[in-house]
């Protein structure tokens, strides 16, 4: 069974540009989560999609957005990139329902570098 897959592995963008990151969950998982892992800051929750809907959002500006497609894959878009957006972006999916969390399965991440 394929795990959570993320693409691209690395992405280099110029300040002010837009970045698009992609994630495919494990087959059967309907929820997709996005986290930002910047150096020294641990994992910061970005977005949660379930059944095509945004269910929860972290404390990030509106230029961080995304969507979930009918096949449950997801896309994270970051507009007007800033230098501090440089980080590892992790996607995860979960077998759990809304009310029971069995734990996340993470992808390998996309390393975004803004220059």
């Amino acid at each position: 069974e394929a795990g959570v897959t993320q693409s691209p592995t690395h992405l280099i963008k110029t300040r002010g540009q837009q970045a698009t990151l992609r994630c495919s969950p494990i087959s059967g998982h309907t929820s997709v989560y996005w986290y930002q892992q910047a150096l020294g800051l641990g994992l910061q929750f970005l977005l949660w999609y379930d059944e095509g809907e945004e269910r929860n959002r972290g404390n990030f500006p509106p230029r961080f957005s995304g969507r979930q497609f009918p096949n449950y894959s997801s896309e994270l878009n970051v507009n007007a990139l800033e230098l501090e957006d440089s980080a590892l972006y992790l996607c995860a999916s979960s077998l759990g329902t809304v009310y029971i969390n069995y734990g996340y399965t993470f992808g390998s991440g996309t390393r975004l570098t803004v220059v």
Binding site: Y35, L41, G42, N101, Y104, F106
Partner: protein
């Protein structure tokens, strides 16, 4: 807002010895989930162990066990018979039960197993 605190940024342990990683959290809820995740260098983050707050019995997974003290809001991870492959960042995480509650991660503890 829920917070997760890992007060040990770095730790080291001799191979085959036992080490305990600390985690405290803050919540006013009674039902929630706690997790420990492991992130080896340049590798994927994986779930190590999961605890449901309403279960008084401490969770165990092979060499990994937790000491869950609900009243003290403490959730420490004990690794027995440490192996070189245990070298990684370890993240403690918390989630309230109920609909669409985000998972909050601590800042991590970097564990080095010394041969």
């Amino acid at each position: 807002a829920q917070t997760v605190t890992q007060s040990q940024p770095e730790m080291s342990v001799q191979e085959a010895e036992t080490v305990t990683l600390s985690c405290t959290y803050d919540t006013s809820e009674n039902n929630y989930y706690l997790f420990w995740y492991k992130q080896p260098p340049s590798r994927q983050m994986i779930l190590v162990i999961r605890q449901e707050a309403y279960k008084q019995q401490n969770a165990t997974e092979n060499r990994f066990s937790v000491n869950f003290q609900k009243a003290a809001k403490s959730f420490s991870l004990k690794i027995s018979d440490s192996q070189l492959g245990d070298t990684a960042m370890y993240f403690c995480a918390f989630q309230n039960s109920g609909g669409y509650q985000k998972v909050t991660f601590g800042t991590g503890t970097k564990l080095q197993v010394i041969p």
